[in-house]
Symmetry: C2
Subunit: 489 residues, 2 copies
């Protein structure tokens, strides 16, 4: 077992020498950290970022780059989509889980247009082009896409569908070297640098340092094996990412993710959450997860997905993250895609983002009865599901799950099945409880003086469900807030 | 909002006077507390219990009284059931969730027969009679019953079915005044009193007190508005119950339980977890829940339970707690019981534990098609489910879910449906991470000196699934361990 770091706070009185200091000290140079740095510097603070790796970027620079924005952004308007903050709020409240933070969602929805403009002002570019096919990401450099199932059942009856996945314009998508996440981070980092933000790389935080009143006044860190004490004259902003790679925290809070971390970097070991809990911080949404599903959305939409009992359980034309979540949490990770030859061909002819999903089917048969037998599903279960689906699909309807007519076509022969059991991976969404200014709240509900946080070390706008772009979205949005609040404290 | 107590630890150096002291101080006089007290006293310690209410009992005295024991207890043997520790372990590992504590389950299964004898030696009586019908609790004073779905699919193919719900012999079951939980607590409390265990009632703990080395040496408490400091010469045992009634903790960790606490007492506000976390304690299984389902098990077994899509999802003859869990967590709390007149009559003729479930059906119809329409289920969905069920039930089989042949009978007419949406309630199973001696572990995985815990303020043998009796079981088992370890430290 890896030795686990002791995170009990240190006392300022025990610090013999401060090795560095700044008005605002930020731990982590990913999306939340860079946004905090920009706003803190603009508010007049001297800013120092401590980054544990050798470079900026965090998980953000490796991400697809979706930023979940709406309420009528210039990009939405230019591409002909109507949206309002209230409509965005209605979708989010329906989609993000049983423990939604209403105040945060309202705040985020109403601040979203301004946040879009802020990103553009910092140099982030969004190409004025919409991509409307099912998928995880746009295949080229398109700037807008559905990324949360807004246009699928049941959400398309709850709020007016509007795409909100805003993607910074990519370059060399195929090689991945300048993907959306990179193209989001790069101009923000340049903006921070121009503002004189300082950075210490290879520096990882160990514990917070309190003065005698209990205020957070610094942080202990390690660099090249040396311990150092860093003083924060105004405040510390924690922006160190999720606990996806802390096996014990995952086991304790979101055990279905054990052994299947995704879309996060190994540095996401929960350190920001741990150091803050050690000074009394409250956490929230600790059970919530984002869950990816490794199936080709074009194929999923044209086939049917069934569980281990041969039953359909989610409309196949929705955001694949919802399919992943339903599969892992509600279906014991049991999923099979059933698709006939024609639909499989049709899916393969579409432009998709990656050849990753081009696996051969696990089973192929001339009839559903034969397929069912080969798959070992309960007798007649799949036959019944397909016959029900086909009968209604022929009439352009899906009374069970509300799939859109464009993807409804009776399943013919020959027919194939893809074994997609265990095809899920994800990351936890829970973390420190913060107020709308990014102040870390104690279990007494009062802010902990001197301590701020943003990004996936905090509980954000998604507390159970997910939409792609929500993490880069709330991390950048509340990163700004936290940086500004720390600078002005 | 209720004001939330500050739980940051105090320092021994700041205590001007200790108002009370003992070798071992135990917080909470429920099942874990009384067992800790007995073993600590027997190991030679002077023991003081701090209880926040005016009397002993905790949630245990109000409980049905199941103690989950097996591996070949004298009661199991006398009633003709074969069981071994390995068989018990196999069942528990299959049944209790994705994050099972293997070491604890092995330890508990292998120590179970000894623990039965210990309870009997303390005066707990188990009547040598078995109750074999589906149900939540035995209707009279029977001593043994299935309480976790051991004899239902899929567990009856994974381990040899053995009933392990041991119920202390009740008196006056109908009035509830001497139910199983009371008859468990009473002799244990008498045992503790004979051993000279002292109790301070109306005394609630506020925070732990540490010496300069970080060892827990006492606890601050409040009684009648006065703060008091209580010194523990050898150790503190936290036995304060779950966080079922701490709304913020439920929201942060197990949000599906928001607004539906059950089988716990209002004192279960998570205080033991909170004071320990404030000194660096680690938690585990925080997302895990027990979920009750308010349907008559005799009716459930004889009907079919379908979700909001008209699909069956769990065998109806299993432990109703499993039905509750599957309904709340996997089916968005959507459940309907479909049962025909004959089977309804048959269920009502059986002896059941309570008339609680004798509600009238929500819908009654002459045909399933008509019923489906009245219920508003997707077109043909219920008809298809019933026709599939009936076809196989007529042949004595349930290929979909494996219900036992004795409960399989085609659904006829007239047919009724009970709307059981939202018929769930439960309590969280997560809490402090402890070792096999009840020592509270820090996030560094090392024990926190002087601090012990047991009962539902700890993560026990159930970390995702549940069996009735598991809480009184591991609370009493590890309460003993914690008390002894504290006394001998």
């Amino acid at each position: 077992m890896v030795d686990v770091q002791d995170v009990a706070p240190g006392r300022a009185a025990d610090v013999s020498e401060w090795n560095a200091e700044a008005d605002v000290v930020i731990a982590g140079y990913g999306i939340a950290g860079v946004c905090a740095a920009i706003e803190a510097a603009r508010a007049g603070a001297d800013v120092l970022i401590l980054e544990r790796t050798g470079g900026w970027g965090g998980a953000a620079a490796l991400a697809g780059g979706f930023v979940y924005l709406g309420g009528g952004t210039p990009l939405q308007q230019a591409l002909g989509f109507d949206d309002t903050p209230e409509n965005m709020e209605a979708f989010l409240l329906a989609a993000v889980g049983p423990n939604a933070d209403h105040a945060k969602i309202a705040d985020y929805s109403h601040g979203s247009v301004e946040h879009y403009r802020w990103l553009v002002d910092c140099g982030v570019q969004f190409k004025q082009e919409f991509w409307g096919e099912p998928g995880w990401e746009p295949p080229h450099d398109e700037g807008l896409m559905y990324s949360g199932g807004e246009n699928a059942a049941p959400f398309n009856t709850i709020a007016t569908p509007a795409p909100r996945g805003h993607v910074p314009q990519m370059q060399n998508k195929r090689t991945g070297e300048k993907g959306g996440g990179y193209m989001l981070m790069k101009p923000l980092v340049e903006t921070a640098e121009k503002l004189g933000v300082r950075v210490e790389y290879d520096t990882r935080i160990q514990r917070l340092i309190l003065d005698d009143t209990g205020r957070v006044v610094g942080v202990a860190a390690r660099r090249y094996g040396e311990e150092m004490a860093v003083r924060a004259r105004r405040g510390i902003v924690l922006a160190t990412g999720s606990f996806a790679y802390n096996e014990e925290m995952v086991a304790a809070h979101a055990p279905r993710l054990i052994g299947r971390p995704a879309a996060a970097i190994e540095e996401h070991d929960g350190i920001g959450i741990r150091v803050a809990q050690a000074v009394g911080a409250q956490v929230d949404a600790m059970d919530a997860t984002e869950v990816a599903f490794f199936g080709d959305p074009q194929m999923l939409a044209r086939g049917i997905v069934v569980n281990g009992r041969g039953q359909r359980y989610i409309t196949e034309d929705t955001y694949p993250g919802r399919i992943g979540q339903a599969t892992l949490i509600e279906q014991d990770n049991q999923a099979f895609l059933i698709i006939d030859d024609d639909s499989n061909e049709a899916a393969r002819k579409t432009v998709t983002s990656t050849p990753f999903f081009r696996a051969q089917p696990t089973w192929v048969a001339e009839s559903v009865a034969e397929l069912e037998g080969e798959m070992g599903l309960p007798e007649s279960s799949l036959q019944q599901t397909v016959s029900y689906y086909n009968e209604h699909a022929a009439a352009g309807a899906d009374p069970l799950l509300g799939k859109k007519p464009e993807f409804l076509k009776p399943i013919g022969s020959p027919v194939a099945a893809f074994d997609m059991r265990g095809f899920t991976a994800g990351f936890p969404l829970g973390g420190l409880r913060t107020d709308l200014d990014g102040r870390v709240l104690a279990s007494t509900r009062k802010p902990i003086h001197g301590l701020y946080a943003a990004g996936r070390c905090t509980a954000g706008i998604c507390t159970g469900g997910y939409a792609s772009g929500a993490s880069l979205g709330d991390s950048s949005f509340y990163g700004r807030r936290a940086g500004r609040a720390a600078a002005l404290s």
